[in-house]
Symmetry: D2
Subunit: 378 residues, 4 copies
């Protein structure tokens, strides 16, 4: 029998929903060693918090996160608030001895991130940053294929995260779901929001990034701010591209934007090795493309692997071959792995320390975009 | 506030899981007028039933469906048992005044189906057969596009459901997940299991089927039977194809098999109208292909619609544009619609009566396959 | 040094162009044992024939095919005229001792075809029917893969040829490029024009077809006839679908229409074997899809083979890997193979006798469509 | 009647074939104002030249290009020799008053290119550099769509040219088809060979490139040289990526390599505008992807335009809808347009002057790759 583990979620926005859904589903499908209990939801807006509790079945509501952290009946704190709050919340949670799952990016910058890593490591609490795409089964499969050595020496890595939802100049910045356009809350634009995903996956699959050169652009320079009601300068990067060199000698190109008409969440990566190549695309997340030069030449070609069979990562817990899962399931896998790690007293990546590496790359990107120079990471 | 509605699920196999998951998720995402309560799970195998109850959080367990039906605290009975039990269970549930959701196909044959329809209509209970694919958002979108008249006069309909999981002659028939190979339990092979889905969607999208000519094949004539331990004749159709004429004058070709190497659950349909065409594929269920001849000629082409935006059927209840849902969500939509219909006292399709039309086509197919003649439906 | 071989082409419509282009290109790319010389073009319309000769560089013009056949300096006669002329021309050419390449379909019906076969075999002249798609490199590759036994026992074959160019009721029948709508000239509609291609490929890849059941439809019953100026009954089949059983025990579904909005020339086939499957699509003719169940399960998927490498059929004669050829090249390959066969005194398929098998299937289809019965082929 | 125009081709390697084939086909399909006559082939290797003349039907052979240029019966000189010869040949041809078609890239560097531009402009001879991909119909269609203003403000451009043919370290450098690996002959690696194509298309579609930052890599540092027989340093760039800013304010990312396992000639571009986006891929060169935000939202998606209809650029000269052309046809279009320009006394792009802009970007890339700095173009 699984032991209950009490969860307190902070923030009931989009990410509050994805994380809560994961806690709610994980037991029936994965039978992890702990059974999450939706103990408390916390949001400064009491109405939102109460509605969220009713919708999802949380047992209680808090509007002050300090009270939540002070509760003895909370085992895991799950931080789903905007980026500028992560540091304060995470450090306090660590000091309160809570296990922590924190939304990405880890922090506003590397300096903040380092404090957070120090705090969780000092407290010795299990910690994880929610770079959920690692646990899309096709992405995990890519990791397994790479780790098995099938690709041989790696020459190239390329990755994009393209969206188109901020093209209209009428879109305001700030508030609710638009805090991602407010640099004071988000820290950066696509770099921390989207490229951070690309970078986390890239480091996981291909090792450390040594140096970068970047360019950023803010296409729409001023937008009305929802909270002040005034037209203000836009401080975030609407688009960012960077080139990189990995420690393993491979070259990389990364690009992200919210101005690529026709792409909603086109997160892709491709990795080219001496013997084989792999490509993936979030818009069809249940497939993995694979090319193996060792195939007999007359039947050699890119394979589209429909990642739904029971021997694929995580898939035996779901349905039958041919029946796909979706976006939300990556969060269920994340919780399942985290609970397994708690039980085995083993860290589960990406830990805060892992996510700090991504933060360092983000900082290097933003620094390079200002100077036009190559910047060493770290 | 939604009123609680008590659910009793019969059968804890694959379909028991998909239906239970739907009851468990629907409230948080759809806020339907009723909130399903997992009141009882019923299975003749007590161990399985108890384990299932623990996994999913059912409040109680029954091993005799008569006892379940006799309980006053059960509002909906959900029948997830093999085909040869549908008739008895459904008629008894109707007589007990329960709302009924029944797995497809409706029955072993038309005669059984007619008794079932009579029973639910006499009892006046809300009833639905779980042809879940109608409620994949891309399929519902297809329905909306067709009903809006965009396609003009319809010329052609084609649909396949291709699998490859029974190619090995070592696979036994009968028992557990293999009852679909036992004609005494399943009634037929791919016709009732897979083509029934194709036919339900086809009638829904394109109206009544008037006549059919069919061919069937059983590639592997004998298989060991799990329950008897003996090698026995295989009574099901391994493959079935049929041609049809619809009442609206359009022509159709349907095919299903479990011997199409490389296809796990490749359910597709395509409909060609005078002005536009539509195609869909279960292996990428979040996309709909659409061609509109009215597009300017130099930019005319098949469009791949990524059905994830908030204005797509059901999608505003889930995530954000670009983030796909999967197979399981079609069942959540089905329950959401059913509960809405219960509240509004309106039938929600496919009702037993709707499903009877599909059953009639299946019977006509099997009859035609024996004689080689065209058979009128109904 | 290749010996010159004098070609006389009859008919300067669309097919006259494709065949002439092939004769003109074949030497530079394939260095066949004979070098075709464009000796004479023949068309009853002198203006068209003269213009065609100037455009393509024919040395002479004839307006009476009897004169062409009487010429001693003509080695090959290439028949590119409408279907209702094939018999007379081919028999006369055979009697004149000419080698013959004849456009498909072989004849208006089996009876005509038998006379033609008898004539060429009696005359002992090299003969070939231009089912050009056999020699698209990806299709030839499919043949090679099947013949090597990779697929194992074959279970299923399916093929369509879908077009949409006759949907408008304003389109007249008869004359020039529209003779394909005139039953007196074409013999049949999509059956002889499009399904004949599907059947030729199917027999080549999968062996003889034993029996069929078919349905046909003429969606637009009357069209103005270009030559009479009057609205007349349409005698051709606008659409035709049929189911078939092959001699090897596999099942097949075929469909063709000119009313599938969005498809210009969507000729596809797929063949499912016990161990592997193959699929091809004329709209991307330089690719072959291949699935091999023997691949390791975690990297198993449909492969898209870009058929452009030098070890692919015919491709070493063209460009470099990655650079595709197109439709016209299938005719060049056909001529190259034919000339090779002439040199080696070996028949090159599809001979008239091979094409007669396709004709028999077409006749069986049309017969079945009238009676609704299964019809044995031959 | 078209007037004859005498062509002298220099170089009978791969490009000699593609250009010669174009001269040979253009008249029958395009009826241009001039009819090219294959007057002379020139190659220093007499055996190769004689064989080439026999294969293609050239009337005469030269082994000294000076003699070719001295001939009065040569109107067009077509330069198909390696990059390090372009300057000398082109300037001499201009001085001899010949029309010139020169293979890309224009020159070894900008300085050479400027001399060449000066020479042709002083001589007043029609001149063109063979960036053939502009005239793939789908690419020309992209140009037309962009020029019509459909995309609105442009935000992003991205393009890659990925190959995998030099991954083996056993591949020597230098000689015959391998001169592209010899920096003394090629000038650069992928930059001049592949990125030059990407850049020419990009400038044509999206206007001038203002500044770039680049990185290059030589993965295999030493290779045996075919001509010296010794292992020598490899001087070319095996891979090159660069970021750029266009004069119109849009951002770009470009990448090319010969180490992307699985890609033979994957040349792609994508352009994202405020209202619409376009994407193209050489591996399926007969298709263009198009997304238009103005489409009604429920049927909005990327369209795959099968560029084969008669109203598509160049296509009315070929076959019928649905039947694709291939790589070689881009060269036929190039010659057709060039001859049309000669007749109308209008320059046809890319002229030497146009190609000089591409050369300047290449030089800026190579300079940036050395310093790691952003470099202004020009």
């Amino acid at each position: 029998m699984s032991k209950p583990l009490n969860v307190g979620v902070i923030g009931c926005g989009f990410m509050g929903r994805t994380h809560t859904n994961a806690y709610k589903k994980v037991y029936s499908f994965f039978k992890p060693p702990f059974k999450p209990v939706l103990k408390a939801i916390c949001d400064t807006n009491a109405d939102k918090a109460n509605a969220f509790a009713e919708t999802w079945g949380f047992e209680s509501v808090e509007t002050d996160w300090r009270k939540l952290l002070a509760r003895k009946d909370i085992d895991i704190v799950d931080i789903c608030t905007p980026n500028n709050t992560h540091k304060e919340l995470a450090i306090a949670a660590a000091e309160a001895g809570k296990m922590i799952i924190c939304e990405k990016p880890l922090a506003m910058n590397t300096a903040e991130g380092q404090e957070m890593v120090a705090a969780v490591e000092k407290a010795g609490v299990p910690n994880l940053v929610s770079f959920n795409y690692r646990r899309v089964p096709a992405v995990t499969l890519a990791k397994n294929l790479i780790d098995s050595g099938r690709l041989g020496r790696i020459f190239h890595y390329r990755s994009v995260f393209l969206q188109d939802w901020t093209i209209s100049s009428d879109l305001p910045q700030g508030g609710d779901s638009l805090w991602r356009l407010d640099v004071k809350v988000a820290g950066s634009g696509v770099t921390g929001d989207l490229l951070a995903h690309c970078i986390d996956t890239a480091i996981w699959l291909n090792g450390p990034i040594k140096s970068v050169t970047a360019m950023t652009e803010t296409f729409i320079k001023q937008r009305k701010h929802t909270q002040t009601g005034k037209v203000e300068e836009v401080g975030i990067d609407d688009a960012c591209a960077f080139m990189a060199r990995f420690a393993n000698g491979s070259l990389a190109v990364f690009e992200s934007t919210r101005y690529a008409r026709g792409h909603k969440a086109l997160y892709t990566f491709e990795i080219n090795g001496e013997k084989a190549s792999i490509a993936w695309d979030l818009h069809d997340l249940h497939r993995l493309s694979y090319f193996d030069h060792r195939d007999e030449s007359i039947v050699r070609g890119w394979r589209s692997i429909h990642v739904t069979d029971g021997d694929m990562p995580y898939m035996k817990h779901w349905w039958v071959p041919g029946l796909q899962i979706g976006y939300e399931h990556s969060f269920v896998h994340q919780v399942a792995d985290f609970l397994e790690g708690v039980d085995k007293k083993q860290p589960v990546g990406p830990t805060f320390r892992d996510a700090l590496e991504t933060q360092k790359v983000c900082d290097a990107i933003l620094a390079s975009a200002k100077t036009g120079q190559w910047v060493e990471v770290g």
